[in-house]
Amino acid sequence: MTEPLVYEISRPGRCAATLPDLDVPPTDLPEGLVRDDLLLPEVGELDLVRHYTRLSQMNYGVDIGFYPLGSCTMKYNPKINEEVARLPGFARLHPYQSLETVQGALFLMYHLQEFLKEIGGFSAVSLQPAAGAHGELTGVLMIRAYHVDRGDEQRNVILVPDSAHGTNPATTSMSGLRVVEIPSDARGNVDLEALQAACEQHSDHLAGMMLTNPNTLGLFDEHVAQITELIHEHGGLMYGDGANMNALLGIVRPGDLGFDVLHYNLHKTLSTPHGGGGPGSGAVGAAPSLADFLPGPIVDVAPERSDDDAEFYVFVDPPKSIGRVKAFYGQFGVLVKAYTYIRMLGPEGLRRVAEHAVLNANYLKSRIQDAYRVPFDRICMHEFVCEGHFADAPDVHALDISKRLIDYGFHPPTNYFPLIVPEALMPEPTETESKETLDAFADALLRIAEEARAEPELLHEAPHDAPMRRLDEVRAAKELVLRWEPE
């Protein structure tokens, strides 16, 4: 199935929008500053709608089927969230309106900050970061600023486990700090001995550690309390990558485990949609040690204006703030959805989310682990990692299994990550999937394991039943066609 490019259905003179006539006297256009051509499509409204509708039909989303993309928490995106974020009183607010005219929006932001503080066990929250990696950059810059503020400018080493998301080391470099990688042990935890050695070796230069917990193997680190203690003993601070917070809601608060700063992924944990790659939201929570360094503005109650009945909300900048990390206040439309989700679930509901996310992952693991080796076989959290290859079918790879899953109507799990597991497949079912869906997915994986031995070419050539057959990624990188050009 292919669809022409919108440029290829373009015909001169068409337009899918109507605009008012000019109702003021025209002014001369600025000399020498007017463009002479503009190569944009010219299409009618119906053709435009059909074009993008057909493109949508070539996509797979949570609304269509099971999307167990590990580390991404592809849970159901409640429809009520979409409705409320589009209410004109939110959708049509200009960010520079006077505070008196936006008190409803500030109330929502203030209380979302409060909710996130409570969920994460932190003393302050900034809603400004736009996505997980952006929250990481924020947090690591805060750690850097903390040391600089104390005259410890030489502290430039960030420890990162070898199981970490690529964003962790990339963030460290972007912040002007240095990465030292720490290996994992045989149970999938951070190797404590190696950590101890690194802490001692870099003690004077230790800025902190970035840790995802549960980690990218889906395992809760059995030594997390010792790790945070060790880092603190050596003068470092703990960064928590909150990508996997869906396992922790109401189970444990990262702040209580000794994390100094953590980003929440509202688009994972708190049900806001992933949008084909964003917008996300990467709000950051901070312990008292780092609260003063958060990016502003954050919302607070104005003490002098709160005497009468209603509290008055204002923007404030934390005293030692690293500065803004984006224009305005954050992905506000996403914040509305996350707020709504927390209100719909309440404290018991949030704990049920984590429990069922973990239940689903362990159930799915129990269904397939005889066919797919699970290298670190413990009770997992919200996701787990298995190996997508078979000793008696050596030509079959995780990629082939992934593509074959498409034929069975499923989105493949994350593959080839984490890097420490060969041929990794990382399914994360989320709590919103029913037992029947998990069973159907497990059945498909078991059948694929049989096919891998009996008919491996079925896997190599998969997908057979998708909008496109397997795409040539090497050719794309070699030829590098990044835009359409007229013949």
Binding site: C15, M58, Y60, A91, Y96, G276, G280
Partner: protein
């Protein structure tokens, strides 16, 4: 429990299959003394109650659509055709994620490819990535690209004071660990604003030297002005520095693209392309550059290829620049970007098309000029400077801007312009007025009448 389908029977069967007796047993690795905290959060609501609560909060705001609005300064009220939201609300698009599996993500991938093409054509550049969080972070990433093009050897960034103040702040936040010097936008710098005239972008030329990685200017600038940037581009290129232009994509429907002046990187806020105001986000940072810098740029890129049967298709490409492959040596840490807003922008640009984009820009231009002429005639108010401008212009006011805006809102239901005194001491009592295609003549005439009252 909302959104969780499990029955008691399901739970029992699943726990048995796992081999544990209770849910709690799944969390044995969590330290006991901090396990299962009582969260102090308000009790759950039904969907009906949730909707009511959110409606009450929304209605507690005065929305910029309920009356004339002349506020811009980086977030703009532009019309969004209904087709945009109709496409964006399709679950196939908004419940998908980053298109890692291209065989089932052609919708997202092709839409991004179309977007990349349209952004290139709009800006006059050769390659566009699949977006940044907003215009401010795209600007900061442009600085990082320029530093990387010079292999970290150049440490100076020249930035015009007429770049959005929040963008300048974000550039400084992003680069605080990199040991760079960011110069040119100091209050007393060569391009600084004074209430009479203000220097143009070309005055930044004197700051460019052989340690300069890039020069950043805005087009139209923060005060709405437009100027030919070719001289500045030539000066930057003479020193082998890159010219980064922060541009308004709506203005580019009419104005010469920055690429035509010799810009090396064009970034900006794509919010005007179908995203709406939404109190500052989610917006869209666009980023376009020359082909020769493609391997230095950050962000996702979609490229064309073929499938096993030779059919044209699209994939994420040049991923070896990115964090999940290159880790600490990646061009940026960016992962999730503004996917759905990219889709909105693609649909918007395709809906408006060649003629519509020009038409919107002309409506902005002519109405803004009409408004400037009318306001300039009010006693006590005067327009500042005589540079060409697009949809925003500066007015010197007889009273503090905050006071005038209170009056406009309370007496007339009008949202007034931006108070430039917030950012520039020399521009106290100066208002930045924004006029778009959403401000018909009646709006402008009403503003003029209201300001006449203010002047009395």
């Amino acid at each position: 429990m909302p959104y969780i389908p499990h029955s008691d029977a399901d739970r029992a069967a699943m726990l048995a299959a796992i081999g544990v007796r209770s849910m709690d047993e799944l969390f044995g690795d969590v330290p006991e003394h901090v396990r299962f905290p009582e969260l102090d959060l308000p009790a759950a609501l039904s969907e009906m109650e949730g909707r009511w609560e959110l409606e009450v909060l929304a209605e507690a705001n005065f929305n910029a659509g309920s009356g004339p609005c002349f506020l811009g300064a980086g977030a703009y009220r532009h019309f969004v055709p209904a087709v945009v939201d109709a496409v964006v609300r399709r679950g196939e698009f908004y419940t998908a994620y980053t298109p890692y599996q291209p065989e089932v993500s052609q919708g997202t991938l092709q839409a991004i490819f179309e977007y990349q093409t349209m952004i290139c054509n709009l800006t006059g550049m050769e390659v566009s990535n699949a977006s940044h969080y907003d215009g401010a972070t795209a600007t900061a990433e442009a600085v990082i690209t320029a530093i990387s093009v010079h292999r970290l050897k150049r440490r100076k960034v020249v930035m015009s004071p007429s770049v959005y103040p929040e963008y300048r702040a974000v550039v400084r936040t992003y680069t605080q660990g990199m040991g760079l010097s960011v110069v040119g936008d100091e209050p007393a710098g060569p391009g600084a604003h004074d209430s009479a005239g203000w220097a143009s972008a070309s005055t930044l030329k004197e700051l460019i030297d052989d340690d300069t990685a890039c020069v950043i200017v805005q087009y139209p600038d923060f005060l709405g002005r437009i100027e030919d940037l070719s001289e500045l581009a030539a000066a930057a290129h003479a020193a082998r520095a890159l010219l980064v232009v922060v541009a308004d994509p709506i203005a580019l429907g009419l104005l010469k693209p920055p690429g035509a002046f010799g810009a090396d990187i064009v970034v900006g806020e794509g919010q005007g392309l179908g995203a709406g105001l939404s109190f500052g986000g989610p917006y869209l940072g666009f980023f376009a550059t020359r082909q020769k810098y493609v391997r230095k740029m950050a962000g996702r890129l979609v490229g064309q290829t073929v499938d096993a049967e030779g059919e044209r298709g699209f994939v994420l490409t040049l991923t070896t620049r990115e964090q999940h492959i290159r880790r600490e040596r990646a061009t940026s840490n960016i992962c999730t970007n503004q996917g759905l807003v990219v889709l909105a922008a693609a649909v918007y640009m395709a809906a408006l098309g060649k003629c519509g984009m020009r038409r919107v820009a002309e409506l902005c231009y002519h109405r803004a000029h009409y408004a400037q002429q009318q306001i300039g005639q009010i006693e006590g108010f005067s327009v500042v400077g005589d540079a060409p401008f697009f949809k925003e212009f500066v007015v010197r006011c007889p009273r503090p801007v905050a006071e005038i805006n209170d009056y406009l809102l309370n007496e007339w239901g009008i949202i007034g312009g931006y108070d430039l005194g917030r950012d520039y001491a020399a521009l106290k009592n100066h208002m930045l007025v924004c006029v778009t295609e959403m401000n018909p003549r009646e709006d402008i005439d009403m503003l003029v009448e209201a300001l006449q009252e203010v002047a009395l």
